[in-house]
Every structure is written in C-alpha cells, then in structure tokens.
C-alpha cells in the first residue's frame, strides 16, 4: 500500500521537476509571456487595449507600423505614399507580395473593406477617423493603390494608420450573418483574417493564447533564430508573475511590483529593459466648479505639491514632466523654466491673491481604489496642501464609477488622479485632451476650455506644414501650463523582465503600456538552458 502511495506521490510531484518554461515544438522555441490582462475580442474593428493589441499586432498588418524609440512610422503594407498640398488627399501604394494567411493577396480592395468596416461599425479605433474620413472618401485606384479623400485637412491622419489593421474581406464576409460584417465570427478566436507574422495555434479563454510563427510571412523574419511562437499566459497576481519568471514557467513578465523588478534585474539569467513611456500621470483639477475653478487656487496647489515625492513613490523609476506633452511627442518643448515645482512661498502668495490666505476649505481627491501608488500620491497631496490650510479628502473609487463622475462637469471631482496614454506621437493626440471635443472622456476630468487653445488645436490639426504646426504646439503647451488645469506629474518607466535567451526586444513608446512586438524576438541559443 505504502509503495502504491509513494508511486502516486512521485508521479504527481516528481514530474513537476521536469523543466518548465518555454515550449519546444518541431525544434522551435515558443516563449511564454506572463501577462495580467485577458484578451476577449480579437476583431480589429471592435476593440483594442494593450493585451488585445499584443495579439492583433501579431495576427494583422497595417499600412504603416510604429517602431523604435523615438518612434518612427515604418512602411509596412504600404511601400510609399503621397499627400496633396492641401492635406486632403492621401494616396498609398501597397507592397505587391503581401498575402493573407489563407494565401489571398493583400490588395487595395482589402484595405478599403477594412476601413469601411471599422468606420461603419463605429467601435474600436473608429473614433480616430469618424467625421474626418467617410466610407465614400475611400477609392481603389488599382489593385495596389488606394486613395483617401478627407472631409477636411487633417495632418495627424497618417499617425493613426498603424491602428487600422487590414482584414481579408473574403474570409470575413464569408461568415457574415444578418449584415453583422462578420463580427460574431471574427471576435471569436481562433477565427482570424490577417496577414501578420503569427497564426493562432490554440486559444484557451481565461488561461492562455498560443500563437505560432507563420513561416511564409510575406515580409520574412528579421532573425534566423526567431521565436517559433509565443504563449500569452494569464498570470494576474504580481507575486505569481515573479514566481513564474523565477521558476522559468514564464520567459517574459510585465506586471511584477517595482521592488520585484529591481530584484529581478539583479537575478542571473534575467534582464529588465526599462524605458520612459508615453503614459503621463496628472492630478486633473475641475476648472468649471468649486474652488478649483479659480486659476489662482490651482496655481497655489501646483506650487505646493511635492513633485520629488512622485519619483520616490516610483523608487526612481519615473521622470518628472516638464511640459504638458511627454518628451516622445513630436513638437514637445521642454518648459523646465516655467514648470511648477514646490515653492511654498509662491503657493501662499497665490492663496493670498485668491482671497484665501488661510485656506479653510476642503477638496476631494478621487483615485482608483486599489492603486497603491495613487493612494500614496494622495497622502503627499494631503500633507502638502495642509500647509496652505486646505484639507484634502481621499476618495477611493472603482474605475467605472470614476469614469461616470468625470463625464460631467458638475460631478467631476475637485481633483482626480489620472494616467493617460496617447495612441500616437502626433502632438494632436495630447493637445486634443485640452479641447472641449474631449468632453466626457476620462482625461477631460479638468473640463478645461481656453478659446485660444481651442482655436490653436483646430488650426494645428488642419495645417500640413510641420514647421507651422510646431510653432502652434509650442504656444499651446505654454498656455496650458500657464492655466494650470492639472498638476503635471510624471511619466513612469515601462519595465519587463525577460529570460536572457530571449533577445530582440525593441521598445517603442507607442506600443500600449505592456505590449511587446513579438515579431522581433529571437532566441540566443548560446544562453538557452536545456529542458531537462
């Protein structure tokens, strides 16, 4: 009996000692990416977030693609393009060897279909071009040339194209039911209609998504030892991610705590790439209602805040903002000399000018419940504003409720902790956050409106000449800073932990938060431990 039990125990526990981690399939290494966020909808017209983008980018191609740091727009399905002098007409010439996973060629018809589909469904990335481009403005010139005629000149047009993936119309429309544009079929993996470097091998909802490299990828592979595939494995708990990379159950992780990243960086066999991203943190102040509607009070708050504490909270893995625009944005100007930094004398002076030399009022600071960094920042704010006689009430709130409050000026909190990630490095992506067109969106929590800024934003997006635009954006940055609609905080660094045999990691700040372009990854065989 004891012998039988021993055999079972050995089987159950002993087998675990077999090396875990990357998988070997047909002699190729498939790496495991441990990530916190699931992917539910894999339809490029319907949804995007960082985890979905990680998959979409692997399955689909767009006309252009963002690569490297600082980001550049690399021709992808489009080999070249030209724009009319008035900025209205954009003509793209497609590569001739691109093909979808089923062998169909990627043609101008497919490009037109994909744009029309997204514009008609009005979901996912549609907001980027709704009102700017109508389906009627898209024209197939020949099988490999497509023309877009915009409703009005829109300089950032080209910057959003990497978000518009091209789908195979033959595959999608073969599954159309009741005029649904194939959405009920395409959203359900393993269904897909792409031409990207990977295809779906296995999809287990709530567990992992396994994609394998498509050997016939039309653009070829950048490295002979490219990964054979990747498994996007859901590991929700930061502590579990740490365990997974240390045991080798994952080859890449993205969500461990800042302290654990520091520890992993010192662990043999693991490296931690670290780059400033595009995600800004700001404390948005309601400019329409209550005490923060007074610009003098807002300035007093900006001068009272301890900015260095932000860096401490992120344990040195962040940089302070020195403009309303992140540094990777085109047209960014460093306004170091003008930027608010803690100066209590100035803060008190502004409180006197506002008529509240002793403070004597309370402000609410709303943050996302459970985000420890935001809570700590709230405590810093509480301590700093106490010196001005302002009481800060910390209000944790779940994100859905916070979004709802922010969507109206009368309910938007006095101060709201908000992280914002622009989708392009065109300055319009940031400037528009200070334009009333953004009303209702979470980053418009300040409800800021300055007619001069509004006019400049509209003029700049309609101007084709970059030098003229750049001057406008410089002015916009200065005015916004002067108006102080928020405490301009910091940009925290993006970090991942990778096993050292996984090489080829190429950072681009326009990938969303934890997104990795898996296409460039390859295996350094000299560093590869054997699976024993």
């Amino acid at each position: 009996m004891i012998r039988k039990i021993s055999v079972v125990v050995l089987l159950v526990t002993g087998l675990a000692a077999i090396g875990l981690g990357y998988e070997v399939v047909g002699g190729k290494i498939h790496v495991v990416y441990g990530a916190r966020q699931p992917v539910e909808i894999v339809d490029p017209s319907i949804h995007y977030d960082w985890s979905t983008r990680n998959i979409l980018q692997s399955l689909y191609d767009a006309l252009l693609k963002y690569v490297d740091n600082p980001p550049i727009l690399e021709p992808w399905l489009a080999s070249s393009w030209e724009v009319s002098p008035d900025g209205l007409v954009w003509t793209f010439h497609l590569v001739r060897n691109a093909k979808f996973h089923n062998g169909d060629p990627v043609t101008a018809d497919a490009v037109m279909f994909s744009f029309v589909r997204t514009l008609t469904l009005k979901q996912g990335p549609a907001w980027m071009l709704l009102g700017i481009l109508d389906p009627e403005g898209i024209e197939v010139i020949d099988p490999y040339t497509i023309r877009f005629t915009l409703n009005y000149p829109y300089a950032p047009f080209i910057s959003v194209l990497p978000w518009w993936y091209i789908m195979n119309p033959n595959v999608v429309m073969a599954h159309e039911v009741d005029g649904d544009w194939g959405t009920n079929w395409l959203r359900n993996p393993p269904n897909e209609a792409g031409s990207g470097p990977f295809v779906i091998r296995e999809w287990r909802h709530g567990e992992y998504y396994w994609l394998e490299a498509w050997d016939e990828y039309w653009k070829g592979w950048p490295h002979p030892d490219h990964i054979g595939g990747f498994i996007f494995k859901l590991i929700r708990e930061p502590a579990s991610q740490r365990v997974a990379i240390l045991t080798g159950e994952a080859d890449i992780v993205e969500g461990v705590t800042p302290r654990d990243f520091d520890e992993l960086a010192k662990t043999p066999g693991i490296y931690v790439p670290e780059y400033p991203g595009m995600t800004t943190f700001g404390i948005k102040m309601n400019t329409r209602r209550g005490m923060t509607a007074n610009p003098l009070i807002r300035k007093a708050i900006c001068y009272a805040f301890d900015y260095e504490a932000l860096i401490d909270i992120y344990e040195g893995h962040a940089i302070l903002m020195d403009s309303p625009f992140p540094p990777a944005t085109k047209g960014y100007v460093s306004l170091k000399e003008l930027m608010y930094r803690q100066d209590l004398e100035k803060a008190k002076e502004y409180m006197r000018m506002a008529g509240y030399p002793e403070g004597g009022f309370e402000l609410e600071y709303v943050y996302v419940a459970g985000l420890e960094e935001e809570r700590l920042i709230g405590l810093v704010l509480q301590e700093c504003l106490a010196k001005l006689g302002i009481t800060v009430k910390l209000v944790p709130m779940v994100w859905p409720q916070m979004v709802e409050l922010i969507s109206k000026p009368e309910t938007s909190p006095d101060m709201a902790a908000v992280f914002t990630t622009p989708v392009t490095n065109d300055p319009d992506a940031i400037a528009i956050q200070y334009h009333p067109m953004s009303a209702g969106r979470y980053y418009y929590a300040h409800w800021y409106e300055n007619p001069k800024v509004t006019q400049l934003v509209e003029q700049a997006r309609a101007t084709v000449d970059w030098d003229t635009r750049a001057k406008m954006y410089e002015e916009i940055q200065k005015i916004i800073l002067e108006d102080a609609p928020e405490i301009f905080g910091m940009l925290y660094n993006r970090r991942w932990a990778l096993r050292e045999y996984v090489q080829g990691f190429r950072f681009c700040p326009l990938r969303m938060t934890s997104e990795i372009d898996m296409y460039y990854l390859y295996i350094d065989k000299a560093k590869l431990p054997s699976k024993s």
Partner: protein, 348 residues
C-alpha cells in the same frame, strides 16, 4: 421537519416537500434577480462608455447603448431579461460580446471542479481529524487539531495560496505555480468538463496526473479554512455523542471500538457537519476569486470580478444567479441528506 418513528419512511415522504422547496427556490431566484438587477443598474457607472473604450466618441457610446438596449426603461429591460432566462438566454456580455451562457459554460466547470475537489479534501480531512481528536480528546492529536483550527480560521486563503506557491513551486519545484493543465497536455474529452474526472473516465492517465498536479495547490488553499472548521465541529459533535446512551449500549453489547465510532457515533455526529459542508460549498463557490487569481485558475471568480470592473450587467446577473442557484441546491441537498443520515427525520 419533525421527528418520527425509527425506520418508518413511506415512499411519498418527500414528494410534497420537494415540490414546495423547488417552488420556493424559483421564488428565491426571482427575488435575487430583481435585487441584482436593481443593484447593477443603480450603480453610477455607464457600461456602454466603459465597453466603447476610453477614447470613444459620444456617438460610439450611444450606438453601443442602443445595441444593448440600455436606453429602454428599467422595467422593460428587466422583463426582457426574465423572458430571456426562460428561453435559456442570459443576454450578451458587453465586455466579451459573447452570450453570457457561453461564458458561464466555459468558466463554471473549472470553478465547480476546484470547489468540489476542495470540499472533498476538506470533508475527508476535517471529519477524520475531528473524529480522532474527539475520540482522543486532550491527547496530542487533539492539540494538533486545535492548532490547525486556529490557523485555518485566522489565515486568509490568498496568503496561504501565495505561501504554498512560493514554497511548493518556487523553492522546492514540486508542483506547478498555476494553470489547469500544462501547455502541451491534451485536454480530456469533455464528458463532465471536470479534467480529473474526464481523464479518469477516458483512461487518460497523463492528463489525470497533470490535472491533479495543477489542482492540488489551489484546492489546498481553498479547502484549508473549511477543513479547520469542519474538524472543530466534528470534534464537538463527537464529544457530545460520546456520552450518549446508545453509544454506551453499543459498547455494552461488545461491539468493536471501530464499529462504535464509525457506524454508530459518527452517523449521529455528522448531521451538523453536513449542514456546514453545504454552507461551505456556497461560500467556496462565491469566494474562489483570490485563489483563482493567485493560481491563474480559469474560473468563474475571475470572470465575475472582471465583469464587475466593467459594470458588465448581464455577466454580473448571470454569475450571481448561477451562484445563487448552486447555493440553494446545496442547501436542498443537505436537507434531504438529513433524512438519509437520520431516518427519524421526515418531511411533511
């Protein structure tokens, strides 16, 4: 419920009771659906805005609102929902865009398997240790059981889960740190959708061992509090029954100690324990989220939390009703088991 002559159990003894309970169950679920519907709708959150994405225009938000009929008056939305239930339709999730019933069918078996396995471990362990510590009260096994009980009641399950993961997976590399199966392990043919059972039924030993290895740590974490309280309860009941007349009679008849304990004493001591097992089943089903998070167990708990984060009203409703139904069924089963454990108990 009431006492009755021993072993007198007409065949119709439970029919009326069963019908009444099932009707009551329907009413309970109806009440629950009203309650959850109101709560999910009065929460100040706009599911359409959340699902449309952070940059969506007002036009896009409105389109989604219309598609999910969020502009309809609340009573109409509610009656449409209830009508759907009778047609086997729990609506569509605004987050996953799939029918909720499809999502539940995907995630529920994983959670149910984990809960049942955990309950199995907790019941076997709890009753065994509880009985031994009752019979040998004051001895070392009793002291040990008391220690375990205090630890089980006081220790949060997620902490235990993290500790088990750190030691068993990271330090000693004995068991995997998460998931339900290895990547290249084929899933068993879906008969019950419980991997352990399906692999056993199909004789797929490789998958069985893999599934067992994966379920052990989450099941131990989830079962520990239940194990501790079951052990304490069983001990108390055993101590109570030990001095009962029928036990003395059994011993006086010269029956062996094993027969006295396992056949006479335990059967009587198990009635409160059965109630506790039933209650624990409901609690476990509603409380797997922390363990599922730590061990990446693709279950209902995580689905529920993600749905709540997105104010995904249909998914929240569906999950709550399913858990409520399980809870009610478990209670019904416990009540029926009373009759089996103690033939004097009958239902009029």
């Amino acid at each position: 419920m009431g006492g009755g002559p021993l072993n007198e159990r007409p065949p119709y003894f439970m029919t009326g009771y069963l019908i009444r309970r099932i009707l009551l169950l329907g009413l309970t679920l109806l009440g629950l659906s009203v309650l959850v519907f109101i709560i999910s709708r009065v929460v100040p959150a706009d599911p359409a805005r959340l699902a449309a994405g952070p940059d969506a225009t007002e036009e896009m938000v409105q389109k989604l609102r219309k598609e999910f009929r969020l502009d309809d008056p609340l009573p109409i939305q509610y009656f449409a929902y209830v009508r759907g239930i009778f047609q086997g339709d729990l609506g569509r999730s605004i987050r996953t865009r799939r029918p909720v019933i499809e999502d539940l069918a995907r995630y529920y078996p994983a959670t149910l398997e984990l809960v049942l396995f955990s309950l199995f471990l907790a019941s076997i362990g709890g009753i065994l240790i509880g009985t031994l510590s009752g019979v040998y009260h004051g001895r070392w096994i009793d002291q040990l059981s008391r220690l375990i009980a205090v630890a089980g009641v006081g220790m949060p399950d997620f902490w235990l889960a993290l500790m088990l993961q750190m030691w068993m997976a990271l330090k000693w590399k004995l068991l995997p740190s998460g998931g339900r199966l290895g990547f290249q392990t084929p899933q068993p043919i879906g008969i019950t959708h419980f991997f352990l059972l399906d692999s056993l039924l199909t004789g797929n030993w490789r998958t069985f061992v893999e599934a067992l290895r994966h379920i052990l740590l989450p099941a131990i974490s989830l079962s520990f509090p239940a194990f501790a309280s079951l052990a304490r309860l069983t001990r108390a009941e055993v101590l109570d029954v030990l001095s009962a007349e029928f036990v003395k009679t059994a011993r006086a008849k010269g029956l062996g100690e094993g027969v006295v304990i396992w056949r006479h004493m335990l059967r009587n001591a198990l009635i409160p324990t059965t109630t506790m097992i039933g209650l624990r089943f409901g609690w476990m089903l509603g409380g797997t989220v922390m363990v599922e998070t730590v061990f990446n167990w693709p279950g209902l708990g995580l689905y529920a939390v993600q749905s709540a984060t997105f104010a995904d009203f249909n998914a929240i409703m569906g999950t709550t009703l399913l858990v409520g139904l399980n809870f009610a069924l478990a209670n019904l089963l416990v009540d029926l088991l009373y009759g089996v454990l103690d033939p004097r108990i009958r239902y009029d």
